[in-house]
Amino acid sequence: MPYSITVNGAVREVDVDPDTPLLWVIRDNLGLTGTKFGCGVAQCGACTVHVDGQPRRSCALPVSRLGNRQVTTIEGADGPEAKAVQAAWAARDVPQCGYCQSGQVMSAIALLREVKKPDDKAIDLAMNGNICRCATYVRIRAAIHDAAKALEA
């Protein structure tokens, strides 16, 4: 089936089965590989993208249900929150293996757009769908606080 989807501001045409998860459309059809496969059942968050600005697990979203909503992947992440989060991630040396971090970063950006100064509880709520097997959680938490401070300034 042909679908017309909007990813990172550009309209893209793909011809895939209706049940194809957005994740595989992004990765295999569009070649945007920053979004990762981790579980395929919306349990780990490695595939997190923004759909109309909200964090969504792209592995569990069939392309046929996307409609004309706007998709943003890690490659298209931009704006003050994205810049602050990515700068804080690098400054704290958050990543270890790094495989989950695109998803972590996308969840953190969405959090800071909603809550300007998240406390630890808000961070727990926003981030507990993103598994990091390297357990970089101490630094993820610290980097989100850093990014919030940088945005305040």
């Binding site: 990762k36 496969f37 579980c39 395929g40 059942v41 992440a77 959680y137």
Partner: protein, 717 residues
């Protein structure tokens, strides 16, 4: 190369007519012997490339899977080269064991046993110093001055008397034409600018891993590439009997279906059609030789063995007599099968034209993988190139003695024929249900306390050996697999009479080393049991341990962590109790104190873990801290939640919904102190993990929750 490994028996990797013969010595868990090579000339051209643009690229023989060797190895070079860190890069070395061997393994290129920095410390410092000397000589010749009159600082070569200066790029080509100096002088550690300095360098891979641009195996693509998923047997020891691909081949995008020795491969134009095709595949399995027991039956069988005498690994004194005196204390600890579940499931990419193959993946033991691919494709190992890519975690999973991933990858390429690049991808279900687990273990412990002192200690260990029958079997001596009892066969404490014996249990369930290997269970068993004995003897967990200890480095980290945490007994105070544990693994020493309360749900809530480590010279203190934080989180998550239970031989968990991983709200606060040391550096990829679970269990005991005798602590009935 002027390096010789020190006195370790070894053979070159051979791919002979019938079998793959690899001589390996003392890798991983058994790596107690110093693997450090003798100092000698190192050809810097193998390890360092200096560009005309002044960039310094360090060629890394160790895989970057999160543990930080790209940054660490580059730090060693940059230190001796006096490079500008802003211009330092890292890339992976090709598979070539003659140049890039891990000295802990013999002539084998690979990463494991927390050995990357330990076995590279001298080598890469020599490489950096040699490169510096060659750049200086090239500059001196060009300027017509004596080399001794030049200085190097942050990537700039200077001749102070004339005021001339140049960056590395200007003399890189000329330096490359000079002979390698036979002898170089390494820096006095007192003058290190980067090594051991906190936050002087940032990780080389942080930016690319924060913006999605870091490339992993799963991101590989090429024109005409096919994505491959494999249907494998549902239980261990089963084999393919027959299959019907008719329905699978009707799925749009499915190109081919082929049998492999591991199962049935579905080839498609992308991951989704491959998965849909596999879903339509009908495969029948011969399960006649398969494991059909469930975990409960296996636990009972292992427990039965633990009640009988095993092969003695170490003993002194009359243990049976000692156990007959004073108060007898007994404990049993049961450890489940665990999956490694790295965030990036196993995957690989390969191109093969019939004569040469090029594989790109997270190869952790390149020499075994290279030989295996060569054997499957019927070509020479030299005709197989491997580009080691960033790996999305491993925790031991990619370090495969049987190279089963490389083998499956090569078979997938061979079955579809030359000229079709293939990308093999395992799903999370393939990963968690696919075996190669940390083995199920049972420990039976008995000790006696007489007149306030420990009089005897007996520890019987039962589990499978993943060394026996593998290319690593050379590690075994007198029928003993040292990775099963490391950490338990020699302990820090004077316990009177002592015995540690083991039984090797048998099952077709595949097993493999898992972050910290034997210490995953021995650390728990020993540190819980000593705590229990000290409690019985009425002694403080910290002071009691120190009083029984002769090892100054173990005592050093224990004292340091007690000071860091302001230890004042185990409590509980205001509902919070503290537990302690200290473990040596891979020649690094780590002590932890956990503060725990009983949560509203009755489950343990871990608030904070204090940690002291002694890793010798800490090359990158912040990477050490990161590995400790991660090791604690990995250790705690598995201790609390993780198990792969078998039901009639079939794994009863398949994904992260039931194979629970630690999440951010469960991560305790972590505070780390790195004990100053001038000892040679040792590893930290694994040693942060073993003390966590026993420290938490020892705190739980003081809360009246008991030291859990069966892991995980939170078990779903």
């Amino acid at each position: 190369m002027g390096y010789e490994s020190t006195g370790l028996s070894r053979r070159e990797a051979l791919s002979t007519a019938g079998a793959l013969v690899i001589g390996l010595s003392l890798p991983f868990g058994g790596a107690r012997a110093q693997g450090a090579p003798q100092a000698g000339p190192v050809d810097p051209n193998a390890f360092i490339r200096i560009g005309a643009d002044d960039s310094v690229t360090v060629i890394c023989k160790h895989i970057e899977m999160g543990q930080g060797p790209y940054t660490g190895l580059a730090t060693l070079v940059a230190e001796e080269l006096d490079a500008d860190w802003a211009q330092v890069r890292a890339e992976s070395a090709p598979a070539d064991a003659k140049i890039y061997a891990n000295f802990n393994f013999g002539v084998i290129q690979g990463t494991g046993g927390s050995s990357a920095m330990a076995n590279s410390y001298d080598q890469l410092r020599h490489a950096g110093a040699a490169a510096r000397a060659m750049l200086v000589l090239a500059a001196a010749q060009s300027w017509g001055v004596q080399p001794a009159t030049l200085s190097v600082e942050k990537g700039v070569i200077r001749h102070a008397p004339s005021g001339r200066e140049a960056r590395f790029g200007q003399f890189a080509a000329a330096a490359g034409r000079l002979p390698v100096p036979p002898k170089v002088t390494l820096k006095d550690p007192a003058s290190f600018r980067l090594i051991g300095q906190d936050r002087k360098v940032s990780r080389l891979d942080s930016v690319a891993k924060s913006n999605g641009s870091a490339r992993f195996t799963i991101d590989m693509a090429a024109p005409g590439m096919l994505t491959v998923v494999v249907a494998r047997p549902p239980c261990f020891g089963a084999k393919l009997a027959s299959f019907d691909a008719a329905e699978a081949l009707k799925v749009k995008g499915v190109v081919a279906v082929k049998p492999l020795s591991s199962g049935v491969a579905v080839y498609a134009d992308g991951m989704w059609p491959a998965l849909k095709g596999r879903g339509k595949l009908v495969a029948r399995w011969d399960e006649s030789a398969a494991e059909r027991r469930g975990s409960e039956e296996m636990v009972e069988a292992w427990r039965g063995l633990a009640g009988t005498a095993g092969t003695v690994v170490n003993s002194h004194g009359d243990v049976d007599a000692a156990l007959g005196q004073g108060d007898l204390v007994e404990a049993e600890y049961i450890f489940p099968y665990l999956a490694h579940a790295p965030m990036e499931p196993l995957d690989g990419y390969i191109e093969w034209d019939g004569k040469r193959a090029n594989a790109r993946f997270g190869s952790q033991i390149q020499t075994l993988d290279q030989a295996t691919i060569a054997k499957v494709l019927g070509i020479a190992p030299q005709a197989v190139s491997i580009e080691t890519l960033l790996a999305g975690g491993s925790f031991g999973r990619r370090a495969q003695g049987n190279a089963h991933l490389a083998s499956e990858l090569a078979e997938a390429a061979k079955a579809i024929g030359p000229g079709r690049p293939v990308k093999l991808v395992w799903t999370r279900e393939d990963d968690i249900m696919g075996g190669h687990y940390r083995p199920l273990f049972v420990h039976r412990l008995r000790g006696s306390v007489k007149d306030g002192a420990i009089a005897g200690w007996s520890n019987t260990i039962v589990g499978q050996s993943f060394i026996k029958g593998s290319p690593f079997e050379a590690m075994m001596k007198d029928g003993i697999d040292p990775t099963m009892s490391e950490g338990a066969s020699e302990i820090f404490y004077r316990t009177g009479a002592f015995r540690c014996d083991v039984h090797i249990a048998q099952s077709p369930v595949t097993t493999l080393w898992w972050r910290s290997v034997g210490h995953t269970h021995t650390g728990y068993a020993v540190e819980c049991f000593i705590d229990q004995l000290l409690e019985k003897a009425g002694q403080d967990p910290v002071a009691g341990r120190l009083a029984l200890m002769d090892n100054s480095r173990a005592a050093g980290v224990l004292k340091a962590v007690a000071e860091l945490a302001g230890w004042n007994g185990p409590g509980p105070v205001n509902g919070r109790a503290r537990g302690v544990a200290v473990v040596e693994s891979f020649r690094s020493f780590v002590a932890q104190i956990a503060e725990v309360s009983k949560g509203a749900d009755g489950l343990p809530k871990v608030h904070k873990i204090w940690c002291a480590v002694d890793v010798g010279v800490a090359i990158n203190p912040d990477v050490v801290r990161a590995q400790v934080e991660g090791g604690i989180g990995f250790g705690l998550g598995h201790a609390l939640f993780a198990e792969v239970p078998l039901e009639a031989g079939i794994p009863a968990v398949a994904n992260f919904d039931k194979y629970r991983s630690l999440r951010i709200h469960e991560m305790p606060e972590v505070e780390v102190v790195i004990v100053k040391s001038s000892e040679a550096p040792t590893g930290i990829g694994e040693p942060g993990l073993p003390p966590t679970a026993p420290a938490v269990a020892n705190a739980m005991a003081r809360l009246g929750l008991g030291r859990p005798s069966r892991l995980p602590f939170v078990r779903v009935a």
